[in-house]
Symmetry: C2
Subunit: 547 residues, 2 copies
């Protein structure tokens, strides 16, 4: 067995059937070894897309692999991997590297920056575990360590292999199944769970606020059982939007502070016990106002520990707590006569036949089925998604980089061929890497792409004011879709949008709907954002002017 054979064996063992990448000379031996391993490689057009596709694949499969070359490849993917770190997506970056003697001799080889260590230093900043394989005898241990950390933390890891070591022989380990993780601190868990149970039982009006770690750590079924068993009303965050399916009777909406639905906000903020499960409570999770969720009524369980009000249990984690609560016989079943319904379910129908963000949302809510997975890019479509009811939803609700959705749809459909991706993307984000639809075509995938053509960076305009540099000059997006081998049409009315969605559904290729809305249109959420924070942000930024 050789180094790369072991690596790809471990990757396949984790259920991965394809990797994403762009070949390059320092990675050629890795690509050859991968081909021999039977793993398929999906060649994307640009490295940021490699990272995004691997990220979304990872969100579904528990591991996604990006296979890139040294320097020009890996360093072109830093932002995508940074997003995977922030949003806890288990991505493995595998990078080729110059041969060991080149690295040691400090040669001015191409693709080099400051030193042979530059890339290694950069990746330490955006990954949870790193290995640099320069001696075959340590390779097995290094590979295992990185993969274990990725699984344990649900965060990206990095493995760099000198190209002359790819086929270096290793001693095959007796077993390639890893030992079980170390035993939990049972005493700490019992103490914390007793406290949580007491708080819940003393509560009259509890609420669960569930976040993305529920999905990352495979707890979606258990969450559903938990909220059903005790009849707990449950809000979700924007990033963890569908960790409880949004048609579930206990679902009360996406909490997003003052910016989200008012019923959800009022219910959650007035609850006497807020059980936050798998929530990072980032600024995006709390609608940019942390004080809205008072610590004294908050229980927060994450992968990194459990906090109750102002004290912290570092040695236990979300998975332990969810299991213990689910198995508990000591928690009462709550009898809450009526849960608040999310404002938009069923939506008050807008009295207009024009195409606006609000009518796009209504039409999508009519159109979407559990066989769709919605991928929203950053921009108004992400904020708008608070009013969307979806079974599967992926959006960069914390790191908020533009560019995830189109390449992400490729990762999604390869991971879950039973789901049809529905991409929501603004014109600004589409310009970044929308041409990756050409790769979708090449792979026989068929996302439906709703391009919000408002000719502006709407979020920036809402928080600042109209500026020349917020304008997004329209391209012939339908022409581009056709040039890439797919289909598309431009729509300017609500009826045409509805018809286009159904044509798209019937199409076996990708289908782009260029949805033209007025420049000054915005989703209900973005309008609230502009009203609430536009002025404050403008003032904060110019505070220095008035000493």
């Amino acid at each position: 067995m050789h180094v790369a054979e072991y690596l790809f064996h471990r990757i396949r063992q984790a259920g991965v059937t394809c990797t994403f990448g762009i070949p390059g000379d320092f990675a050629l031996p890795l690509y050859a070894a991968q081909e021999e391993s039977g793993l398929k490689t999906i060649v994307m057009t640009h490295e940021p897309s490699v990272g995004y596709a691997a990220d979304v694949y990872a969100r579904f499969k528990g591991l996604g692999v990006a296979l890139v070359t040294y320097g020009v490849g890996a360093l072109n993917m830093v932002n995508a991997v940074a997003m995977a770190y922030a949003e806890e997506s288990p991505v493995l970056v595998v990078s080729g590297a110059p041969e060991v003697r080149w690295q040691q001799a400090d040669i001015l080889f191409h693709h080099r920056v400051k030193s042979p260590d530059t890339q290694w230093h950069v990746y330490r900043e955006v990954t949870a575990a790193q290995a640099r394989i320069t001696h075959a005898e340590y390779a097995v241990e290094q590979i295992d360590e990185v993969l274990d950390t990725i699984r344990r933390q649900s965060r990206p890891g990095y493995i760099e292999i000198a190209r002359d070591l790819v086929f270096a022989p290793i001693k095959e380990p007796a077993t390639t199944t890893r030992p079980a993780p170390p035993a939990r601190n049972r005493e700490a868990l019992d103490e914390a769970v007793a406290e949580i149970v007491a708080r819940l039982n003393n509560s009259q009006r509890p609420v669960v606020y569930a976040g993305v770690e529920i999905e990352r750590f495979g707890l979606m079924d258990k969450l559903r059982q938990l909220v059903e068993k005790y009849n707990l009303p449950t809000a979700t965050s924007l990033m963890g939007k569908t960790v409880l399916p949004e048609h579930h009777p206990n679902f009360i909406g996406n909490y997003f502070g003052n910016l989200g639905p008012e019923n959800t906000r009022r219910y959650l903020e007035n609850a006497d016990c807020i059980l936050a499960l798998g929530m990072l409570l980032s600024d995006m999770d709390v609608g940019f106002e942390p004080s809205r969720i008072p610590r004294r009524r908050l229980i927060q369980a994450t992968a990194n520990g459990v906090s109750i009000s102002h004290h912290h249990y570092p040695d236990i984690n979300l998975v332990d707590v969810v299991d213990a609560l689910l198995q508990s016989h000591a928690i009462k079943r709550f009898d809450i006569p009526t849960f608040p319904r999310p404002d938009a379910m069923p939506p008050k129908r807008a009295k207009t036949s024009a195409l606006r963000m609000v009518t796009i949302l209504e039409e999508l809510n009519d159109f979407l089925t559990p066989s769709h997975v919605v991928l929203s890019d950053t921009g108004d479509c992400l904020f708008a998604s608070v009013d969307l009811r979806a079974e599967w939803f992926i959006g960069p609700g914390y790191y908020a980089s533009m560019g995830l959705a189109v390449p992400g749809a490729i990762g999604a459909q390869l991971a879950r061929p039973d789901l049809r991706p529905v991409v929501l993307v603004g014109d600004g984000a589409f310009k970044m890497n929308g041409v990756e639809l050409g790769t979708a075509k090449e792979q026989g995938l068929n996302p439906i792409v709703v391009l919000i053509n408002n000719q502006t960076f709407a979020t920036l305009k809402a928080t600042d004011r109209d500026r020349a540099y917020f304008r997004v000059r329209p391209w012939d997006y339908v022409g581009i879709a056709r040039s890439l081998g797919g289909y598309g049409e431009q729509v300017t009315t609500r009826a045409a949008f509805r018809a286009a969605l159904h044509r798209a559904q019937a199409c076996s290729d990708f289908y782009l709907i260029d949805a033209v809305v007025p420049e000054d249109d915005a989703s209900p959420t973005l309008k609230r954002l502009g009203r609430e924070y536009g002025g404050k942000i403008r003032m904060a930024s110019r505070a220095g002017e008035r000493p």
Copy 2:
């Protein structure tokens, strides 16, 4: 005066008239301040392009500015800035950042990765100087320090400004003109120059090997005077291709080891004194074989010092040496009866009417005038450029990242509106960011784009073998060009290519020529590369297989 006002004042003082960027919330105050300063911002579609456009602008103007937002913006530009570092391009990265109190309170703000310091740590790895402005009182000194280092080293620098400090008042410095750099070590310079003069005068057959630092440090006129004064035959590197105009009588071709023109190789390697001016002597500079240029006959002057054979003068640099040699009265004028002519000047005409890399080169050599600037992307078109005779040429001849040429053409034409960019780009590189032509259209620019449509990553195929993952599925590139607002046509014969070049020249918009060549075609240089190194690279990579 406020912090950003001072920054943009210094930038304008350096002769910069526009910056490149994509706005984002943490950068909004910076964008507002820039608008007030009268600097124009060119909004690109994707951050890698921001970096490439600023890089090429910098190569012409001595400074190029990329203005990006925190996290999602700056981290998406790491590779482009890494290339600027490797290839010594004076790019200034200006990044927005969260307000100081957010950074200090360790808040989970959006766009954050591991900590508020992540981006700072990453940028230390790819820039020569860094400043993080969190106190207005130090801002002037910090800004000056970064700009001075950029100018001195001709390498990128990084300035991050917390968004609440952008408009913070500063004490205006008495003078914003910087003091002269410290005096040189005159004694060391005299010693080194005496040694160089003696070597030259003892030489029968000297050669100048001139590299990219000649251009970076503004020495092109002086180099020309120097080689004329002493009648020195002069080769250039691929990266420094046109630091001596290629129609100059002393020009003997692009040296590229065994891969470049044979006459040039033989002449340079057999010279008894090789005066390498502004050459890094990277692997690309020596055709991947460092031993071809023997140290005992080598004088190497760079921005970082001067080496003669095996001894080094650290305290003097290229600029000093060129000045001293030019002013010397002690150097003889060489009387070398015939210089070797580069093989391709005038080219032996290929006996074919088919469209091949070799006929593309011949047609380009007939077409190009001193009013064109050629920008080559990485790929066969870069290797092919050895046989191209151009007055202005920009190519990533060391770091060799794909993606420079199309966005670079925007930077080039904004920096030098008197030059018409001619882009050479492979289909693989065009897929990465060719849509940036939409930005060219928006800015009223009109590059001529020659897209080498060989449906493959040709360089990888030449060094490995045909692999499924080297295939580049063709898109309707002409359809894309039209969808972006420009013109284009597909050509499959030499005559059609020639006619297309002339139609492109007459066109006031950008013009894309989709030049279809067979999958197994390659430039003369790439064919040599495959023959020379293909086997060796394959063997090296699999060496581990045979213990």
